[in-house]
């Protein structure tokens, strides 16, 4: 079962090579930074692979299989066809590292799955306001059955 785990060793993964691949997948554009700009892979990959040990070997395969100097989104799609597990490991690891970055989270306005408080009786306001009235006014829509 996944529980808070210690970071995994990543010595068998060429972080520079993976970062170069990740920059093609998530480049700087539309006001968002590239993966390398927020140091997402070097900062978070050990933790991501600590959480998801099953991604480690297929990720190694993906990094070995892809040449950063020739890498493109088309090549990524080809990897999907050739080795689905490697594709899933690469896309999952890159996305997870990127969206763990506080800079990226701030930019997309995502605080994480936060706890919120609310007034459980606030519904009386929208009921009083008449939000449900049209539904109620149309009357029952269920069908009577014989017997």
């Amino acid at each position: 079962m996944t529980t808070p785990t210690s970071p995994a060793p990543t010595a068998d993964i060429d972080i520079h090579r993976l970062t170069a691949l990740a920059d093609v997948m998530l480049p700087a554009a539309h006001g968002m930074p590239a993966v390398s700009e927020v140091k997402a892979v070097e900062s978070y990959l050990p933790q991501v692979l600590g959480w998801r040990k099953d991604l480690h070997q297929p990720l190694v395969r993906a990094v070995d299989a892809l040449d950063p100097s020739l890498f493109s989104i088309d090549r990524l799609s080809a990897l999907h066809e050739e080795d689905e597990d490697a594709y899933v490991a690469l896309t999952t690891a890159v996305a997870a590292c990127y969206y763990l970055s506080p800079v990226v989270r701030e930019l997309i306005g995502y605080p994480g799955q936060a706890a919120k408080t609310y007034d459980p009786f606030a519904y009386t306001e929208w009921v009083a306001e008449g939000l449900l009235d049209p539904v109620v006014d149309r009357g029952p829509i269920w069908r009577e059955v014989p017997g």
């Binding site: 539309h30 998801r52 408080t117 459980p120 929208w126």
Partner: protein, 536 residues
């Protein structure tokens, strides 16, 4: 000396928990065998940074992906839908969404009303007292008065928040003149029965660490064990045993280290869900009494599996609605297209439930609606959609068909070497017409609610959360497995408490009805105690 219980329950999930509590509180000596463990809420991943990674592996909805020792594999190579479940005390409720609708009167009479499938041997009115009682036991939040339903008792708790998206879609439906209502959820909106209310974290389908979402490990098992029920975890049942008269005598089970035990009982109740129960009945075949499986003289054990074809229609607004936040059950529901309309190319209909869309990984590595987009366009897509959406989850009524079935796989086994269940299931052309209609209407709904963009994920395979029909109820032993008390026609001291007994699926989430039926079965067992046949 062997110890014989009054009642042996197999499975400590939704139906098992409800039956155990009622029977124990009425003086029965109850033993329950559950292959999983008590859930450890401190291990639930929802509040952790790895939540979206965990739900793709160790906390996946699919037992095949989780692959924990307590899970059994479900072979589904020949199925359009992948069965999903959770194996623990609390059962699949640990990861369910918690929407808690009742079935409707017409759901029990589809043959009479619409000329398809079969009527149930019981009516909606038979279940009303049990629906009312179960709502109190569970702690349901909702609002009475929904004109899609016959009038019924008020819910114990006020409805959960509509949220920004729910409010917008409610207004959109008012513009269209379409039905909507706050969804009843088995999730606390306020403190209840010693439990804390929902904090809207939106991670319900990977376990509710707050304990706001009802599951029987919280709502029923503590009370059942306090009343004397014995719950044995890590106990995987391999078969039900029978005596020469054809009565059930108990069950053989294996502990975590593979040591075999036998639990004797006067009465056996199966509560292992519609796949686990069918599997056990088939595993209990006996050359002399029941070569085709226990309680299977009708040949219907495992057949008529229904799983609700499921589509997701997502809409995105121009501005933020915090689309990752809010209880995952549903904020609002719509029954506008639930009942049969003779002008359509199908009968019956679907229920819609409005849900959040999840965090960033769910947007870019979608398990429901949407596509993966990489490169520069990725950021454009995220900027356009993230936090701005909500999804109509559409559950279409699934009509029973005998070829849709569970049987035993000839090769694959669980970790104890017990044959795995194999599911063969095809979505029918009728369902495809029904779902196409609903999807188009749901896009209209979201556009009318102000969404700029919509997308349909049609009949997604990873959606077998509602498992029903594999040991149907009926009055005729030639065409059903159990009678209206959920007692096996062939084995009078064997009962089935779970959704295997469903005659038809309705178009609503089943657990409210599963638990009401389990309570009714247990209650009738109490009432008819003196007449119950038991082994010598």
């Amino acid at each position: 000396m062997t110890y014989r219980a009054d009642v042996l329950i197999i499975g400590a999930g939704a139906s098992g928990g409800v039956a155990a509590r009622h029977l124990a509180e009425h003086g029965f000596d109850v033993v329950c065998l559950e292959q999983g463990d008590w859930p450890d809420r401190s291990a639930f991943p929802g509040a952790r940074p790895d939540w979206e990674l965990a739900i793709r592996k160790d906390w996946a909805m699919s037992p095949n992906v989780r692959n924990r020792p307590e899970d059994y594999p479900v072979v589904h190579d020949d199925s359009d839908i992948e069965p999903l479940m959770y194996n623990a005390v609390g059962g699949s409720m640990i990861i369910y969404a918690g929407t808690w609708p009742r079935m409707l009167p017409s759901d029990f009479r589809v043959r009479t009303m619409d000329g398809v499938a079969d009527d149930w041997p019981i009516a909606h009115s038979d279940l009303v007292p049990y629906y009312n009682a179960i709502d109190q036991q569970i702690g349901v939040s909702g609002l009475a008065g929904d004109p899609a339903y016959p009038p019924h008792d008020d819910y114990p708790l006020p409805p959960l928040p509509l949220g920004a998206a729910g409010r917008r879609v409610a207004e959109g439906h008012n513009r269209l003149g379409w039905h909507w209502w706050p969804e009843p959820n088995a999730i606390l909106s306020a403190p209840y029965d010693g439990r804390r209310p929902c904090v809207q974290r939106g991670v319900c389908t990977s376990g509710c660490a707050e304990g706001a979402k009802a599951s029987t490990d919280l709502t029923h098992w503590p009370k059942a064990t306090a009343a004397g029920a014995r719950l044995i975890t890590g106990a995987r049942v391999s078969r039900i045993t029978i005596d020469p008269r054809g009565l059930a005598t108990g069950a053989v089970w294996l502990d975590r280290s593979g040591v075999e035990h036998h639990q004797e009982a006067d009465v056996v109740i199966l509560a292992a869900n519609a796949i686990g129960t069918a599997r056990l009945l088939l595993l209990s075949a006996d050359d002399r009494h029941c070569p085709d499986g226990l309680a299977n003289s009708s040949g219907l054990v495992g057949r008529r599996l229904m799983m609700h074809p499921f589509s997701v229609v997502t809409g995105w607004w121009d501005d933020q609605v915090e689309g990752w936040q809010g209880h995952f059950g549903a904020s609002i529901t719509s029954y506008q297209f639930y009942e049969t309309d003779p002008d359509r190319e199908f009968v019956r209909g679907a229920k819609w439930a409005l849900s959040p869309v999840g965090g960033p990984l769910n947007h870019i590595l979608p398990m429901r609606a949407g596509n993966e987009v990489w490169g520069r366009d990725h950021h454009e897509l995220m900027g356009r959609t993230f936090g701005r959406g909500a999804s109509w989850a559409i559950f279409g009524e699934d009509l029973p068909e005998e070829p849709n079935r569970v049987d035993l796989d000839p090769v694959r086994t669980d970790s104890h070497g017990i044959p795995a269940p194999r599911v063969s299931y095809r979505i029918s052309d009728h369902s495809r017409r029904l779902m196409a209609f609903q999807e188009a209407r749901a896009e209209e709904s979201l556009r009318a609610s102000g969404c700029r963009e919509t997308a349909v994920a049609s009949m997604i395979p990873y959606s077998g959360w509602h498992l029903m029909g594999t040991a149907r109820m009926g009055n005729d032993s030639a065409s059903s497995v159990v009678n209206s008390r959920q007692q096996a026609h062939d084995v009078p001291n064997l009962y089935i408490a779970d959704a295997s007994v469903f005659v038809t699926s309705s178009g609503v989430n089943p657990t409210c009805t599963i638990t009401a039926l389990a309570l009714r079965t247990a209650d009738l067992l109490v009432q008819h105690r003196s007449e119950q046949k038991v082994p010598a």
